[in-house]
Amino acid sequence: MSDLNKLTIADARDKLRAGDVTSQDLTTACLGAVEGSGVLNAFVHNTPEIAMAQAAAADARLQSGDAPAMCGIPIGVKDLFCTKAVPSQAGSAILAGFRPEYESTVTQNLFDAGSVMLGKLNMDEFAMGSSNETSVYGDVISPWRRENDTARLTPGGSSGGSASAVAADLCLAATGTDTGGSIRQPAAFTGIVGIKPTYGRCSRWGVVAFASSLDQAGPITKSVRDAAIMLEAMCSHDEKDSTSADIAVPNFEAALSGDIKGKKIGIPKEYRMDGMPDEIEKLWADGTAMMRDAGAEIVDISLPHTKYALPAYYVIAPAEASSNLARYDGVRYGHRAKLAEGDGITEMYEKTRAQGFGPEVKRRVMIGTYVLSAGFYDAYYNRARRVRALIKKDFEDVFAQGIDAILTPATPSAAFGLGEMADADPVQMYLNDVFTVTVNLAGLPGISVPAGLDKQGLPLGLQLIGRPWEEGDLLNAAYVMERAAGFVSKPAKWW
């Protein structure tokens, strides 16, 4: 059977269980696709031996009849996840050569469910970026191109390798992480699905930390059903993460009834930004109509502090990053600079970090250092945390009014060309996250669903935001949207 790499998780699961294919067939097909995809630069550490061994084990498990949904499914793993004995660099030179002695909880959960790891996926350095241009491995290239144009486009970021790999059918699905939009924005840019669950659903243990109060792992998949299946396998309560929620993980796939009659979908007026492209405006209106046609009640809502989410994020995330990244000191793991005669420990720190961190990471670590420094802590950091409380309250207020989910655009534009933002100031790049970052600040679940193409033939996504811990309902609303939008476009293979 050809093109096994193009299957969804749900279809592959059914074929595996029926004995129509083996995990080794699927894995071989994906490894072949990965091999032919070098130009995309999505996979950066391939693990074919691990993959084939896991596939053989999965086939044995399938034969014995004890096979969870993810059993035998070949996936890619974002480089941010620590994977035992496999390079885990977070896209940074400072972790060159690092091979963890342990497995992250999320990847362990996936392996326990029988998933097959094809390799590690490219990403923005320490997940800091929106275009996958800050990686030590180089840019990731999107499989999508504008019509009649061969310009290389960004797959988005920071989970750009994950998005590019799934959109190009190199794997059936991939793990991602999302601190300000890093799952949802790349999914939107590449015409696939990405969900960030409620803060605390997925253990952060073994995931290289960026901003601990915002970071969450989640799946990047080809369909909403796949997102439900894979998310369930990733989630768990974990004693090794003190913020991991001690609540049961429901069967998310079972929540996909396709029925949202009577549900209240909020449309927040503050997300109607000045200068928003007409195509995004239209996409949003079309999505609203789809939800109405499906029987949902559309309600205009207000989230008054939306405008302040990005500036609050760009205080809180760098502040946490500056603390988290203090561990990269050249002592315990990763890169250490060569020292000159007479250099002491301070020079070792300063040179190691100057060589090991890229420009965007340095910038954010230093901004974080500044906003936490004596005299500015209250003015910046504490003020941002107060504003964050107000942003969260905005959402609590609308949920208290009975709103079940909130519909917004996922991104302010379609994917842009690699290098197009090179001369812009850093804030211009940060604006990519304008619709997604509120969700991280409030700790809510959010999902991006492909909903249309722009006039140049590039995918556009819509975002649904759910109540905390109600990923099942959120996935169901996304499932309705997915079916109504009927998005089936795929990038034409050029790589």
């Binding site: 002695e101 405008k307 500036p311 409030a442």
Partner: protein, 95 residues
């Protein structure tokens, strides 16, 4: 708010990142742009609002204060750039 090169150099020092003098003006300019963007937060009335500590209201779990792990010295040191005789090795700290 405008950040001068002296402040940029001070922040780089605090962050333990070596920045060449020639790079400071561009860095200061980036800081000024980002902090200028952040200044918007001053428009928000935050009187009486507590700074958020945890996005999910939860009481952090406690456990018995006992050793649960250990005897993995080789694993702890496995990735060190310089490990000697069971220790992390660094340049001389105390003269």
């Amino acid at each position: 708010m405008s950040i001068d090169t002296k402040t940029a150099a001070h922040v780089a020092k605090l962050a333990r990142i070596k920045v060449e003098t020639s790079e400071l003006p561009a860095l200061a300019q980036d800081f000024s742009a980002i902090l200028g963007f952040i200044e918007q937060l001053n428009e928000v009335d935050v009187d009486g609002v507590e700074p958020m500590v945890s996005v999910t209201p939860m009481r952090l779990k406690r456990r018995q204060d006992v050793v649960t792990d250990g005897n993995i010295q080789d694993k702890v040191l496995a990735n060190a750039p310089d490990a000697r005789e069971g220790f992390f090795a660094v340049p001389k700290v105390v003269e």
